[in-house]
Amino acid sequence: MVEEKVHIEEELEPILKKVSDPEIPVLSIIDLGVVRSASLNGNKAKIEITPTYSGCPAMDVIGDDIKTALKDAGYEAEVNLILAPAWSSDWITEEGRKALEDYGIAPPMDATSDKKALLGEERIVKCPQCKSTNTHMVSQFGSTACKALFKCDDCQEPFDYFKCLI
């Protein structure tokens, strides 16, 4: 796992924590790891965000939501989209992983396990509902670009798995 240093101004963190991914409302953009820097100069906030997937349609909304949240808190905001370094599912925080699972989305595993799971070699993705690992992949592409569709063979519920991207 590559350690990425992200500088987020303390004062801005609680505001950004309130902004979430519109497609996964329980996950704040901080926990998703898309905020790459947040700096403050007077009341001018400069935020850098990076997309999870190139075509992620949520990025424009996230950008607008950040601006609104900061404006409401009395800051002037500038939001820039950066591409390097490319987002990795490793950047989802522990708290974020827990929020995902509670919400019904299986959080991403490490790259090796992920590959085995998506290739159907091993049944290791845990059902977020009943916690069974007796699950199978239905499709590598799920409801959004970042997810794959799984089904639990114990409780029979379909669920999303947040794909590993490193």
Partner: protein, 251 residues
């Protein structure tokens, strides 16, 4: 540095993703199953996302006051530099998968090499896109195996598609004068060097799928020079309709 060649080089790469993305977009709501429909349109979305990054960069480099939308939607047919392979019609599911498979394997190799470019923006886009293209490649390769090694009918259809599309693969490795300039500047990828690995990788999957690797000695080309097949005009008419009807329209 002369930026014109760099802009043209970017078009050469991005137009492939744009036109293939458009072809995949045509399948929205028409996929053979819900899951496949979603997978193909997700792939389309990834490609369009990549295209936006390339075109935003190209617009930034340009001396003219243009945006990514102008580049994507307001060029004439001859100004699009995509290869002939990606503009081929979808016909049936075997053709959709065959086209995707033959392009994904090339795309993967291209982006892997583009990561070594001296242009840092292109490196960033390549790194980002490569992660997505790995998924595309896995998806299309899986389907090649499933259809090739499936029923008699699926095998025959898959073989027909591969045989038909094969004549467009050689163009992927041609170098235009502009490509040569980009390679000399340390920015472009020498695609001619990817040919051997490409055919080896593709053959491996086809063999596993119990399909025959076509043995062709005639190939078609032209797209890279802006000379397209008869299908391109129809595709552009569809794709450019909104921008031409409502100039300046935005998302």
């Amino acid at each position: 540095m002369n930026k014109e060649f760099l802009i043209k080089y970017i078009y050469g790469i991005a137009d492939n993703a744009l036109i293939l993305g458009q072809r995949l977009g045509e399948l929205t709501g028409h996929g053979p199953t819900l899951e496949v429909d979603i997978a193909l349109t997700n792939t389309s979305l990834d490609l369009f996302g990549q295209v936006r990054s390339y075109f935003q960069y190209a617009a930034q480099l340009s001396d003219e006051e243009i945006t990514e939308d102008d580049i994507a939607f307001l060029r004439t047919e001859r100004e699009y530099l995509n290869v002939l392979l990606v503009e081929q019609p979808n016909r049936d599911f075997a053709f959709v998968i065959g086209k995707q498979f033959l392009f994904d394997h090339f795309h993967f190799l291209l982006l892997t090499e583009l990561q070594k470019s001296h242009d840092q923006t292109l490196v960033a886009i390549a790194k980002k896109s490569l992660k997505e293209v790995s998924y595309h490649k896995r998806f299309s390769s899986d389907w090649i195996k499933r259809l090739g090694d499936g029923t008699e009918e699926s095998k025959q259809k898959m073989q027909t598609a591969i045989d038909d599309l094969w004549r467009f693969t050689d163009e992927l490795f041609h170098l235009t004068e502009n490509d040569k300039k980009a390679i000399k500047e340390g920015i472009g990828v020498d695609v001619s060097k990817l040919k051997e690995t490409y055919y080896k990788n593709v053959a491996e999957v086809l063999e596993e799928a119990t399909l025959d690797v076509p043995e062709l000695n005639y190939f078609q080309e032209g797209g890279k020079k802006g000379i397209h097949s008869e299908h391109m005009g129809y595709l552009l008419t569809d794709m450019q309709y909104m921008q031409r009807t409502y100039p300046g329209m935005k998302w």
